[in-house]
Symmetry: C2
DNA sequence: CTCCCGCTTGATGTATCCAATCCTATTTGT
DNA sequence: ACAAATAGGATTGGATACATCAAGCGGGAG
């Protein structure tokens, strides 16, 4: 009989979105039966989707106890930012010699949108689009994949929280400087700035983690 | 009924090993029925295991056509080595200030075994154990996880081929120098050497790729 | 010879059952 | 009265059987 045409892949996509956008909160149990009912399928595609998400690290699985949305502690966020530094510094270094005028222009256009963006949610989205635009010319698909995979472990909520925490001015100033350095081909300086840029985020999280 | 007690997780582990150790060659089709028969289970755990491996990138999946062992081209090996540089340079830099005498001693012990290792297969294994020992003190689990995940995409066969290609002497010389630099806390030099060490591998693969 | 149809193969999904396990709450023993 | 044992319900994990669907092939018809 029919359902909503949800297949395993579509199910995984839907769950990923639910997690990323905070409709499913960290720690929430993911009951197979309930999800099957909600998506109009049997339990089997649900289980397969959950396995996929588990392998991606978005879901914690314990045998005979089922899946829960992965909880990401502040420590883990720090570690994910450390991975960001590792991957994105290198991608940036590879990208700079390849960056064409069109690439720079694209990044500049995103910064312009950024300047006009009103809310922390939009800052977070713009922020990522800008960074991504910088890495794109690196021409190393697996590196970009790794960056994206790491990025997906930050929920939209977490990103928005971080953006709100950092405000808009200082990151945006750094973005402009970063783009300038990239445009001049100053790889070492750009990488150093990017590293500091991410370390700033680490510091502000550490600070709020202590405060509450 | 019976079965060999294979559960989804065990099945994924077994398949991972079969792929890593070359019993399942790249491009080989993974038929659900056949695997179910071989492992004495039904198709359901097989499918879940395949989904897991797909998410890990060890298996290619096309809708309605099933799974095949992922094909890793020379280009992709180059890219995976690029990811190695990104992740492992950073892990090494973080590890060096944390490296205790016991860590150095452990790495040195592995190098001693390495010196005695006879065959390319054992070189490859030792090589990894040595590198891993260097990164371990970085105290950043997610970084180590990312390194391991990337590493698992090299099959044992590929690693052995690479080891045979590079021989034993030059890598081993570099390993000794690397350990020496780590022991003295010379982070910048160690990272530079590690990068060159991996770039050497890239070059020798590029060379054989051209030759045949 | 080429194109199209239909058959076969294998993947995907459903429904139903059963076993194992975990959680909870109740009962039991001291 | 309180801790330990246990019984029951809920949930996952897996087996089996069946239905459906897409892709590849093989054999004719044009």
């Amino acid at each position: 009989m029919e359902g909503s045409g949800f297949t395993t892949g579509a199910l995984a996509t839907a769950l990923r979105a639910d997690i990323a956008e905070g409709r499913l909160l960290p720690g929430a149990p993911l009951r197979q039966e309930e999800l099957a009912l909600r998506f109009g399928t049997s339990r089997i595609p649900v289980r397969e989707a959950l396995r996929t998400l588990q392998a991606e690290g978005l879901v914690d699985y314990s045998p005979n106890r089922g899946a829960t949305v992965a909880i990401v502690t502040d420590t883990e966020i720090q570690e994910m930012l450390e991975v960001r530094i590792a991957l994105e510094s290198h991608a940036l270094r590879l990208a700079i010699p390849n960056a064409a005028d069109a690439d720079i222009a694209a990044a500049r256009a995103i910064l312009a949108e950024y300047d006009a963006a009103p809310s922390p949610e939009s800052w977070a989205a713009m922020n990522w689009r800008f960074h991504w635009a910088l890495y794109l010319p690196c021409e190393c698909r697996r590196l970009l994949d790794a960056i994206e995979r790491n990025f997906k472990h930050f929920s939209t909520a977490a990103r928005t929280k971080i953006s709100a925490l950092a405000g808009k001015d200082r990151p945006q100033r750094e973005h402009h400087r970063l783009l300038d350095l990239v445009g001049r081909g100053r790889a070492d300086d750009a990488v150093a700035l990017l590293t500091e840029h991410i370390r700033d985020t680490q510091r502000s999280i550490r600070a709020t983690g202590r405060a509450g």
